[in-house]
Amino acid sequence: MSLMTAIEVGASGLTAQRRRLEVLVSNLVNANTTQPAGAEPYRRKDVLFTATDPEMSFSSAFDDAVQGVEVSGVVTDRSDPIKRYEPNHPHADKDGYVSYPNVNAMEEMVNVLSATRSYEANLQAVNMAKEMEQKTLEILR
């Protein structure tokens, strides 16, 4: 409805990207987490984004076009764990293989960068909307 909606939408983007970053960091820190043989190893996770209508919206053709974002779920990557031959590892199976999580550190770093850039873009949108509000107040001076 107003610039407040722009701020709200920007904030929803900030929250969503922050949650994505949390999940990505959890992938990175668990890149080398192993489990005893037979147990399910850590699997890489990712978030699902869905466009949502902001809370302050009135249903007009224009307001329907303005959409925020939310994390609608966290999905697990079901691809196979990476097997490494480490017979002396305490979590090795009877053939000497250890299951490492299906996390590729390079891929995760790229995703972290993407999340950071998107976060910055949303922050910029919030700051611009704030600046415009400020300009409106300056008319009164």
Partner: protein, 136 residues
């Protein structure tokens, strides 16, 4: 010359232009928030289409005798129509938000907003000046 400050067409036009700019800022914020949402399509609102529409009706603009004359100030209708931007390349997740284009729109809109608020301030300064009989 009679100046009716409270029915000032310029002021009305600037007011509706400001509201249109703030709506555009919302659309851009929405595009940026959904930059990683699969299937989201870039949206924008139109200034020129509304302008053309109003020109054809010519309800509030200056009367002109020839079609090539400038009809002057035309208030922008406060009812915005959002549309999906065509011709942008889609990524593999069927999202077509271009971060650079959106950042450009963001500063463009904020600049336009700042410009118009300055003009509105100028209008009010003129009024203040006439109230004070030109003494400040």
């Amino acid at each position: 010359m009679k100046i009716d400050f409270f029915h000032d067409q310029t002021l009305d036009a600037m007011g509706s232009y400001l509201s249109r700019l703030s709506q555009r800022q919302q659309i851009v914020a929405s595009n940026l928030a959904n930059i990683d949402t699969p299937g989201y399509r870039t949206k924008d609102i139109s200034f020129h289409a509304t302008m053309q529409e109003l020109l054809s009706e010519n309800s509030a603009g200056l009367r002109t005798s020839r079609p090539e004359h400038n009809p002057g100030w035309v208030p922008v209708s406060p009812q915005a129509q959002a549309f999906e931007v065509q011709g942008l390349p889609f990524r593999t997740d069927r999202n077509n938000v271009d971060i650079d284009k959106e950042m450009l729109k963001l500063s463009e809109t904020a600049f336009g907003y700042s410009l118009i608020t300055q003009m509105v301030r100028g209008k009010f300064r003129t009024l203040a000046s006439s109230i004070n009989e030109g003494r400040g």
